[in-house]
Amino acid sequence: MGFLTKLAFKNLFRHKLRTLVSIIAIAFTVMIVVFARGYILGAIDSTYANQIYYNSGHIKIVDQEYWEQERIMPLIYPVDGFPGGDLEEMVASLQETDEIEMVIPRLKFGAMVSTEEDLVAMSGWGVDPEQEIIFTNIEDYLVEGRMVEPGKLEVVMGTALLEKLDRRVGETVTILMNTAFSSLRGVTFKIVGRLETGLKVLNEHLFYLPLDQAQRILEMEGQVTEVLLVTSKRNLVKKVLPKVKELIAERGADGRYLALSFKEASDIMAFLEMANIIYNEVYVFLVLLGCIVMIMTMIMIVKERTKEIGTMMALGLESKNILQLFLIEGAIMGSIGSFLGALSGLLFTGYLAKHGIDFGEAVGAFDAAHLINPIIYPVSSPGNAIFAFVLGSIIVTIACLIPARRAARLEPTEAMREE
């Protein structure tokens, strides 16, 4: 083995340029495959994003009566803890459940603003700003100003809504809302941020405010209208949902609270599932393409060296050894190239995973308003990179075998004559 390995290295060094080009090609292909996976996963995430971020999380917990009346946003069927405990305690127990990463409370309610000519109807979302930012990346869509801060009478609104109200960031707005006890309250808020997304609801009808303020104003201390649960991966919901339901039942609240998976949240789920199957198929195609590319390349290289093979055989090398030689050469090129490719792919995807790919910018501000999710966050995963590395190495190694076998079967003289 030692001799062959040394010979392999020598061969590779002898044809420095060729080796280099091959390794670079392998590296690029692997890097692209790693990125493609991350990007496709990010694209799939974004198709679910709207439902998950703004509607249901991965699992949504609401009062049964609330669910039936959801469209009128009643305040009289809140989520306020398990029997014998309060909301905080409920949130803590949910947080402790396996695989639950975030527990996000929201208070949604109807509100109005009177302009000179009109009563503009809208919805208010009382949220914990820090959690919302982590969960939905809402800051990405803040084109002006900042997100609200707890304890302050501040709101963030969509561009279209601000236009309807004829207000700007920095100005104040007086919002009318009905409390849980049917008292009408008018409160003046400061507008601290402006949102722009492709989602009509966020742009035209919604305003964010700090949860504590919403609870205080609406006379709903310790209450919210829904609690969203977030796991690390969408696919875990199947496993986690029964556990959540168990917890609710254990605590005696199963007659009151519903735990719904995001799949139950909307009728377009089936369509999204289908779209995502297509995306996954595309990824498989891409990997296939990558493999074929690498195989073809290797075949070509080895074919060019048929003469060389003949020479080696004439010099006494057995076909078995020749095969091993090429295997080793392939392994070396494959592993180096794949390693470089996987690493750079991981780094590249990792960078984009944090900053996102902003299609909105590419398209320009006006058109971006029509993009539902102008920013895609590729999913960076070392597992994916490792997979690409292993796959690349193996494929390239094996790819060298096929032509080498053919060449090794030839008579030395025939081989030497080939060009």
């Binding site: 946003m73 309610f109 109807g110 109005m112 009109d118 919805s123 809302m177 008292s183 309250r185």
Partner: protein
Amino acid sequence: MSDSDKKEGSLGLMKKTLVILLISCMLIAIFAAVAWGALTAEEIIRRRDDNEYYDSAKVEAEMIIINRNRRIVKTMTSYGQGDNGLVVFTNPRDRGTKFLKRGDDLWMFFPDAEDLVKISGHMLNQGIMGSDFSYQDLMEADKLIDLYKFELLGEEEFNGRPCYVLEGTAAPGKEVSYYQRKSWIDKERFVGLREELYARSGRLLKVMTVTKVAEVEGRWFPLESVMEDKLRKDTRTEFVVKEIEFNPEIPEGTFTLENLR
């Protein structure tokens, strides 16, 4: 969800609150205790209507909203003078909130708001589908004679009192919320004792029943009444007048915006 649905959700409840308050401020039927012999439908209504145009009044009232098993009580002091009205809330949850009606406009003051909120009459009507009163309902109550054609159906006893039974049908071309109204008016006291409100299809939508009347300063008026929504189970709103004073001393500037703050 469409805009109208959203408006419905947030407005429905609010309108109910708003408007019913104003009704309590305005809709006080006060009658002379004199019976005149045979009257036509118009005359009966007119007498009841006429008596509403008091010069001024001060009312301490209570409104109880009952929805299934929830019970919400609001108390208020209201001043009325002609076309103007001021309502000041006195119950703990609403304390500090004031509504001022001037002509067709409604101004609202809230302790946590930096400015007054103005709502013009037409806004409360704007394409809003509600199962509750609209501002229009309120305005209607002022001008029943103009908006409805009344017919005297006969006489009937209601709660032990002899009553005229009148039926009002929307006058052609008039914009009214309830196509038909059936009223039971006490023959002797000229107090409305019961009012049934119908949709154009003939479906009974709401019923207002007066459960207690009283005589103050020579006038009879309803002390306690109940409004029921016939399409919804277990919901009703009760009005209770705790105190009423006619032609009280109403300070100058009561019905100004400055006074609201």
